[in-house]
């Protein structure tokens, strides 16, 4: 039998349906891979082995009866930010280390209803705050990719898988799950996808329900998939997206058949915008070259290329670092030692709060709560929060204006390839700059997708990002699919952990 874990989700789905193999075989093959790799990668933070095998068995019974949903028997990894009923959900934070939800997030419920199998919960930056997965209370997650040395051998320096959805990107790239859920507040799906050679899709704000996803910055958070291919992303989004009356920001709009649209011809005369502001100072030559290559592919496919201007681009990141911490400081106020898991005693209730939060939150989360508290505090609201929301309007207007003439925007996903664990520490602002190309998309509520299209001079993956009009994920997936085909077969990570 071919190695089941190297199949794409689409192929595995067809294989199960055609009874070439069972969900239990597929699931056990993944559990074995996790067993081999997880010590080295730290991608899964907890497994649900008994429940996993029960779900796989139930899927096989359905398939035997000729029943089953669109994801029947497909084993998935779930970012530990999605509440899973009776399965520990921690947001990779000590403050939630004992939290066992009594309800299911809408996105994961959609997946189980479609027949998917839960393998376990995936590592992430604590409360999804970070770009490297180094701020997790469970320790950093490791990228399956390593840098190549001049003699062709591998440098053993562990690289970050990106963040915050680092467990999701690492697990998908290492064949530990068929696909993973992730969330994106400033780039947390697309940047890790770019760092690991996977596809990361951040849908339009409101496309997926936020119910049961641990909240970071509510006006920016959105769930989406990290997958091996664009087709797999289409299949996953199809199931994850839904209108949810329990999330008032979820939008009541049809979810098209994304996989079917992938095969349809792309709209004639499609126009792709290239924003001049994204040619930032000091951009590495290889990123520039990757971008040019993407432009060439789209040109040869008959697309029109147009230079555009998004003048407020450079202000997106500083505005984000007002809005996201402000919303986080408010959302995280609920972790007070009363309702969830951890409590650290004190002489009175205020000291109990102070001690619980001091011990329960890690350094980056505290930093952001404090920044958020400061910008919302008396006398500063107008100067910071209100100012940032006005800048956000300008960023949105930049996109509204260019979308009158173009269909989507093409940019690099990240300013560089994956960096080493510990290499970008010390100055928080340096870490924040990782999201320079992705954060505008969240600020404007737009859909974005990162597609792996090439390799860095270090032998690690690089990605290009497409940004679409609101709710036009379908066109985004079509063009992403085209770029994926143009890029051809890219290398896979070497699975160095297996030789140990």
């Amino acid at each position: 039998m071919t190695e089941l874990t190297t199949l794409t989700l689409a192929k595995a789905r067809d294989g199960i349906k055609n009874k070439e193999f069972t969900s239990q075989e597929l699931t056990k093959a993944h559990l074995k891979n996790i067993d081999d790799a997880n010590e080295a990668l730290n991608a899964f933070v907890h497994l649900s082995a008994d429940k996993t095998l029960e779900m796989a068995k139930a899927s096989d019974e359905k398939i035997a009866k000729g029943e089953g949903g669109p994801l029947e028997g497909i084993p998935l990894g779930i970012k530990d930010l999605f509440c899973t009923k009776d399965v520990r959900t921690t947001a990779s934070s000590h403050i939630l280390e004992n939290f066992v939800p009594t309800y299911e997030s809408t996105v994961t419920k959609n997946l189980w209803d479609a027949g998917a199998v839960l393998l376990g919960k995936l590592n992430n930056d604590e409360f999804a705050m970070g770009s490297s997965n180094e701020s997790s209370a469970f320790g950093p997650c490791v990228n399956p990719w390593r840098r190549k040395l001049d003699d062709g051998s591998e440098d053993e320096t562990p690289l970050v898988p990106g963040g915050s959805s680092g467990g999701s990107s690492s697990a998908v790239a290492a064949d530990l799950c068929m696909a993973a859920t992730a969330t994106d507040t400033g780039g947390s799906i697309r940047q890790p996808a770019a760092f690991t050679g996977t596809v990361g899709l951040k849908p339009t704000y409101g496309r997926c329900s936020r119910l049961g996803i641990v909240a970071f910055a509510s006006s920016l958070d959105q769930a989406g998939p990290i997958t091996k291919t664009v087709r797999d992303a289409a299949i996953m989004l199809q199931v994850m997206a839904s209108h949810d009356p329990l999330d008032t920001t979820s939008v009541d709009i049809d979810v098209p058949d994304y996989e079917k649209i992938l095969g349809a011809p792309i709209k004639k005369g499609i126009t792709i915008g290239i924003p001049k502001e994204y040619r930032v100072d000091g951009m590495p030559q290889e990123i520039e070259a990757l971008w040019e290559e993407g432009i060439d592919w789209l040109k040869s496919a008959g697309a029109h290329i147009k230079e555009i201007s998004l003048p407020h681009t450079k202000y997106a990141l500083p505005a984000y670092y007002i809005i996201a911490p402000a919303e986080a400081s408010s959302n995280l106020a609920r972790y007070d030692g009363v309702r969830y898991g951890k409590r650290v005693p004190g002489d009175n209730i205020i000291e109990m709060y102070n001690n619980t939060r001091a011990e329960g939150f890690g350094a980056e989360v505290k930093r952001r709560i404090l920044i958020g508290t400061y910008v919302l505090s008396a006398g500063y609201y107008d100067a910071y929060y209100n100012k940032a929301q006005k800048v956000r309007t300008l960023i949105k207007q930049d996109f509204d204006r260019v979308f009158e003439d173009i269909d989507m925007v093409l940019t690099p996903t990240t300013p560089g390839p994956a960096f080493g664990i510990g290499e970008v520490s010390g100055d928080p602002v340096q870490m924040y700059l990782n999201d320079i190309f992705t954060v505008t998309v969240n600020m404007a509520g737009l859909p974005g997708i990162s597609v792996p299209t090439g390799m860095s001079s270090e032998g690690t993956p690089l990605g290009l990002q497409l940004i679409g009009k609101p709710f036009d994920e379908a066109s985004l997936l079509q063009v992403a699919h085209l770029m994926e085909e143009a890029a051809g077969d890219l290398p896979k990570a070497s699975k160095w952990w297996a030789t140990k």
Binding site: V100, T248, T249, Y315, Y321, I349, K366, R367, L370, I371
Partner: protein, 95 residues
């Protein structure tokens, strides 16, 4: 914008996070560096701009004003560190 250690302690008190003097020293530096960096927003003319209120234009949804869930206090307190008779328990706050 620079913050001093007294300000760090003040914000930490508002945020209900205990911060030691040692932590405050580091936070003074880190928060000042972040706040100085975001100061570049002052270059942007926002005189005639309204603050953004929603990322995607939608109409405010309405629903029937009726009870749709509830009656499961045990689920609500299940994750509380201390609870009694389906109530959350906290240290004494009133003498």
């Amino acid at each position: 914008m620079k913050v001093d250690q007294a300000t760090v302690h003040h914000i930490a008190r508002l945020a209900r996070i205990k911060v030691s003097d040692e932590d405050a020293k580091n936070l003074e530096k880190e928060l000042s560096s972040i706040l100085t960096w975001i100061e570049q927003l002052s270059e942007v003319d926002t005189e005639a701009v309204s603050p953004m209120t929603s990322a995607v234009k939608t109409n405010m949804k309405q629903r029937e004003d009726m009870v749709t869930a509830g009656g499961y206090p045990r689920d609500i307190v299940k994750n509380a560190p201390v609870s009694e008779d389906d109530f959350f328990m906290v240290p004494k706050v009133v003498e």
